[in-house]
Structures are given as C-alpha cells and as structure tokens.
Amino acid sequence: MTAGTTDIDRSELRPLMTTAREDLLRGLTRWHVYGRLGWLDVKRRYRRTALGPFWGTASLGLFVAALGSIGVGLWKQDAITYVPFLAGGLIVWVFIQAILTESCALFIATPGLFKQTRLDYSVLAYALVWRNVIAFLHNLAAFLLGVLIFTHNVGWPLLLLIPGLALVVINAVWVTLFFGVACLRFRDLQPLIGNVVQIAIFVTPIFWPPEVLQSSTRIVFVTFNPLYHMIQVMRLPLMNQVPPRSTYLAVMLIAGVGWTVTFAVFDYYRRRIAYWA
C-alpha cells in the first residue's frame, strides 16, 4: 500500500503497456470485436429504411447512367466498354474515398470507446475497413447484376478481384491508421484531406480513360498516381481483364512504403493517442 514496498515480485507482473506490434497483431485476432463493430455500423444504416446501404448503390447507378451517356459522346467511347469502365471505377473509388475520409475521424470520433476501456487501437482501424468492405460488396452485387443483364462480359479474370481487393485492404489499413493518428494530432488535416479527395476523383482516370492523356501529364496523373493503381487492380478484373504485372508491383510497392512509414509513426505515437483525444 505504501510507496516502495518490496514484497511483490515485480518480475511476475506484466507491464500495462502495449507495443505497436502487439497492438496490430493482437487486434487482428479480435475478430469478434472489429467484425461486430463494423457489421453493426452497416446494420444501423439498414434500420428504418427499405434500402439501407443500397441507397448508396442506387445513387451510384443513377450517376453512372447520366455520366455514361455524356462520356460516350464526349470521349467518343463505345457504351459497351465505357459504361463498365465508369461503373467499375466508381464503385472502387467510392470504397477508397470512404476509407480516406472516414480514416481522419478514426480516433476523433471514438474516444468513448478507447478512453473507457483498454482497447487495441488497431481494432478500430480494422472495424472501419471491414464496414467499408461490406458496403463495397453491396455495390459489387449491383455491378455484377448490371453486367449479367447488359454485357455478359464475365470470365475467369473476375476471380482476380479477390487478390485485388486483398491488396487494397492491406493498403487501406495503413491509410486508416496513418491518417487516424495524424488527423487526431493535427486537426487541420481532416478538412485538407476532404478537399484533396474531392479533387482526386477528377484527376484520376475514373470518368475519363487514361489514354486521353499524353506524355508528361499522363505520367503525373496516371503513372505516378497511387490512386490509379489502387483502382486498376480492382477495376480491370471487373471489366474481365487481367491487370498487368506493373499494377500489382505498384500496389505492393505502395503497401511496403506505406506500412513502413505507418509502423514507425504508430510505434512512436501510439502511446500518445489517448492523450491527444
């Protein structure tokens, strides 16, 4: 009870601290926590509405129909290739965009959880990514239905969506953790990222095919645009095409660099998260 008593063997006690590594790995085994948190978020969107998350799908569908008609005239595209390109790109974009913007609020919105009980922070990141994967699957179902009705252009390359999604998810987790920590400390980042994301949809080949750009602008907005590769690795299988090796290399390179930086940041600042919240 008093300070400095020595009859407790401290070597038998565990320190009440967690390393970044423990947090990430132990968090990953807590499927019943993040799976549940993510699923409940989606379930709440279903409450008291007939369509729930399919409202997002419905508005995307309208958007594709409207923009598809314009794009076919504007870029002299063939509807059979352009509309799946647009729709596929959009459902992947919506998935990536939601993760980017929601990641900024990862810790700002959840102190009610991690300041009330001891929680591995990574659990919150996994939950955020998981709920967006569920939302993506809703859009994917609608996309595949459209393909079956209109183009019948499905084949084995569609299976490559699975590794594509896995690679994007691996990137999504570091993005979520990185921006979650950064935006918690620097509150200006959240609106800044919101702005950048809004512009990114126009400068990334989603509405327009990459071929319309030439030489240096193409290098800037296509080759060195990480979002482009994230989209390609999932969009090409949706369009019944096999992504080139360079796409996979780019996505894996981004994952390697992103995780290295994020792990360093998380390792150093993890213990400050509760203090900044």
Binding site: M1, R14, V33, R187
Partner: protein, 255 residues
C-alpha cells in the same frame, strides 16, 4: 493472485490550441505547478496531471481514492486501466482489469438491448461464449423483459441505467477500477442494486474506487489514498486519509 503496482508514475498532458493570451500568461509566470511550459522558451503548454505516484495494491485491497476535483483521480484510474501510458515511470499488473468509468462503452441507441450487451461484453474483453453465459443473469437482474429486444433509445433513462448497471455487475473482474461508483436508477432498484454491488465487489480481488462520497468509500474500502495536485499526500487507514482530506480543504488548490 492479483496485484497492481505503480512506480513513480508521471502523466503530462500537452495542451494544443490554447489561446495565445493563456500561453503568454503562463510563460510570464514562474515554472512549477500544474500548468507549465514544456521547456524553457518553449511555447508548448503542458498540464502535469500526475507527478511521481507510487502505489502497490495486493489481493484484498479496497482502495479509496480521495481528492479534490482535478487532483488526478480519474487520470490515475486510467493509468491503472492501461489507457494512459505514463510519460515517466511504469505501471505493472497481474489479473484481469475491468474499468468502469463514466459511461458503458459501445452502447448505441439504435441497437437492441441484447445487441448492446454483446457489444459491451466484447469491448470488455469477453468471448462470445462468456457473454452468452452472463446474458441470463443480466435478463433476470435488469428486469427489462421484452424491452431487451427493442432499441436502446426507446428506454427511459432509468431503464438505460439499469441495463448498464446489470452489464457492469455481470462482469467478473479481478481488478476493478471505478470512478464515482455506478448509478442504479429508482429506489426499489437501488436496494437490490446495493446487494448486487456487494456481491460483485466481493468477487473482485482488488478494487480502486474514486469518489467524493465518504459514505460510499467507507462502505466499500479498507484503505485510503489522498491525491493532491497529482501527488499522493496521504496513504493509510480511511480515518487518517479523511482527516487529512478535511485539513487539505482549507489549503489552496493548485500547488
């Protein structure tokens, strides 16, 4: 065996976004005290919430945390829960730690009572099987009946409290950390709640309870610790600690 050991624990909160005028006011003042600048010439403002706290709790200890507002009681509990990692010093423990602070984490108005039980249980580290085992106990004690299938937002505030209380006291902590006890709702429920609280606390090996209620602390605890400006200024029997606490009410607040 359960144990909880703090060795020379310091906790300092950075204050971001403070007004320039506040910053200047603090810079002009001599350093020392609860609020100070991080280094000489630095613009960073820091609040020292705990300054060198050492404490050892063993099996059977029921520790009353006493102190004025801002003395560091809640911060100390969060260090014990592993939520704040000390900026200096260390915290060690053995045994499952259950923190019960101001709100039950994870309760959502749109989810049903049952769903909230499962969420709160998972957040407290229970497996699904462990949660299934405590559900009958929560059903029986909360007396919410059919309401457990309805969304939490349809509950009266008393019913909400009953649910949170029933979940909290269905947990099986080895080390229980509580801030201001747990509210228990209406008078009839309060009586049953008091009995259940006794049983619940009897199951815990170590309790650390922060409260301003001398009555609650005397009913629950067997030792006391008095915090003042982030330091332990008295530690011992409840009588000693409360006597020292009453003396300290006549002293200036911040050191």
């Amino acid at each position: 065996m359960a144990a909880l050991v703090l060795d020379d624990v310091h906790v300092e909160f950075p204050v971001y976004g403070s007004q320039r005028s506040l910053r200047r006011a603090i810079l002009e003042r001599a350093t020392g005290g609860m609020i100070y600048r991080e280094k000489r010439g630095s613009e960073r403002i820091v609040i020292r919430a705990l300054a060198g706290v050492s404490l050892t709790c063993r099996d059977g200890d029921r520790v009353a945390l006493v102190g004025h507002n801002g003395a560091g009681k809640s911060t100390l509990l969060r260090v014990m829960a592993g939520i704040y990692e000390p900026t200096r010093g260390r915290a060690l423990a053995q045994g499952r730690i259950t923190p019960l602070f101001d709100t039950m984490p994870g309760l959502d108005g749109e989810d049903s009572g049952y769903e909230n039980i499962i969420t709160a249980g998972s957040l407290h580290g229970l497996t699904r099987a462990e949660i299934e085992r405590i559900i009958p106990d929560i059903e029986q004690f909360s007396e919410l009946g059919e309401y457990l299938t309805l969304p939490y937002r349809t509950y009266s505030s008393g019913m909400g409290t009953r649910l949170a209380f029933s979940i909290a006291t269905a947990l099986n902590p080895e080390i229980l950390l509580m801030d201001e006890g747990i509210g228990a709702g209406d008078a009839r429920f309060a009586e049953r709640a008091a009995r259940r609280m006794d049983e619940f606390m009897g199951k815990s090996r170590i309790i650390v309870l922060a409260s301003h209620s001398e009555y609650l602390l005397r009913a629950t605890c067997n030792r006391g610790v008095l915090l003042h400006s982030g330091k332990i200024i008295a530690s011992g029997t409840l009588d000693e600690v409360f006597e020292r606490y009453r003396e300290s009410t006549h002293e200036p607040l911040a050191g």
